[in-house]
Amino acid sequence: MVLTGIVLALTLAQSSAPRQEAPKTDETVPVQRGSRLSINNFAGEVVVHTWDRDSVHVVARHQSRTRVSIRPGPSGLSISASGIMGPQGSVDYDITAPSWMAVRIEGTYNFVTIDGMQAEVFASTVRGDVIIKGVTGLITAKSIEGEIDVDGARGKINVSSTNEKIKISDASGDITAESVNGGITMTGIDSTSVEASTVNGDIVYEGKVANGGHYSFGTHNGNLSLGIPENTNATFTIRTYQGSFSTDLPLEGVTRADLHRGRRVTTTLGSGSADVNLETFGGAIRLRRGTAIRPHGR
């Protein structure tokens, strides 16, 4: 009823005004190499993709009383919107930018997709998903209520979602992922440094464990599932207070009794070169060869 009421109000407002097509901003702005792109969008969607021209093409769909501002400045290009007679409405942006351009996107009810940038990207939302594909560079994405999906990234990845899941796939470089109620799933990872932690969610890791690398996974109530190559050289430090541990890897010296009440247990695979830290207060720790999750139980 509330939604219908809102829609009715919008419909009545529109029916009383002269009919017109949805306003659209369509502008191309030249940019200098090294400059940055900053977008602030309170509500709507921002999609950024790349081309090989040194200019930024902005297409924005919005209400007639919303004005989109595209402002070149000394540090780069800033894009935002404002209401002509009051607050702005939602704006959907489709932006094409040079791949070398660093991008910063902030908003509240904002859905973000960044595709193909070869530079630093930053995306922050309160309620809205963030999708980052094929980006190379420093990647920062955070949300309170939105999912984070990073695919095919190369670089330093730092992501957090307070309440929703985080998914990182086919990525390389240092990774830090953090949540509270969300799970964290990492597949196809090639990294020497991975740190993932959550309170109530599960953590899944499938990927390489590089010699000399550092890996840390921790949850309170969630489960940890790691799938790693059998020829991995790693030293595992395992701690759980009231959880469990299982593995099909040839690890010695780990017994159920050892793991009770948070006692630290160290065990080695191969030369033990990498450092893998696994902690959970009450969840299960599963260490597998190859695939982290098996379709039919253990």
Binding site: V7, G89, V180, N181
Partner: protein, 219 residues
């Protein structure tokens, strides 16, 4: 031009009219082009809205609606809000800084006392009566948490009620983790893992509250 039936079209669509009213409106629709057109548009928009993924409402609507949905707040007029700025006092910032210093110190302590793998045999939990548990009580931390919670409480109306609910649920999840760690520590005070785990949970709560306070501040 609006008539007395126009405002009831949403009830009609939602099938919330009495049978008499429904018949009355349908009779009216037969002779009112404007209402038929509005109803058709309404159906179209509802249909499109139903097909779309969840999308937040536009800003102008939401800022008027949000305060009315806040159960603890009184109904406010639907007018554009002037953004309130929230800032922290110097003592509050100092308290937060001190809390972070203490937490960092705790992290170093844990790092130097069992946080990493060593060649030593595994530690036995709570077997050495001489082992002193890490100090948990930290008035600076508690003050910082209290201040941030106060700031969040004071700025509730600046945030979407749904976001408030999510933040509170996540803070509750962290509090539960803290409480479980505390209870475990009560019976096993020298447990290195529990001390480390508790410190992490407290740090996480501080970080989330700071994030929430920043959202409030941003308005």
């Amino acid at each position: 031009m609006e008539d007395l039936w126009t405002g009831r079209l949403s009830e009609y669509l939602d099938d919330e009219l009495s049978s008499d009213d429904r018949r009355g409106l349908e009779s009216h629709l037969a002779g009112c082009d404007a209402c038929r057109e509005t109803l058709a548009e309404l159906r179209g928009v509802v249909s499109r809205a139903g097909a779309l993924p969840a999308r937040p409402p536009a800003a102008d609507l939401w800022r008027g609606i949000a305060p009315r949905l806040d159960r603890r707040g009184s109904v406010t007029a639907f007018t554009p809000q002037v953004h309130r700025r929230f800032s922290f006092t110097l003592p509050q910032l100092v308290a937060a800084g001190l809390a972070l210093m203490v937490m960092s110190g705790g992290g170093v302590w844990v790092l130097n006392n069992g946080g990493r793998a060593t060649s030593l045999p595994p530690l036995a939990a709570n077997t050495d009566p001489n082992v002193v548990p890490a100090a948990i009580a930290d008035p600076h931390y508690d003050e910082a948490i209290a201040d941030l919670e106060q700031a969040l409480q004071a700025g509730r109306s600046q945030l979407d009620p749904g976001t408030i609910k999510v933040l509170e649920a996540n803070l509750a999840a962290i509090d539960a983790a803290i409480e479980q760690s505390r209870q475990a520590l009560a019976t096993d005070p020298a447990n290195v893992y529990l001390n480390s785990h508790l410190a992490d949970a407290r740090q996480r709560k501080l970080a989330l509250l700071r994030r929430a306070a920043a959202l409030v501040n941003r308005g």
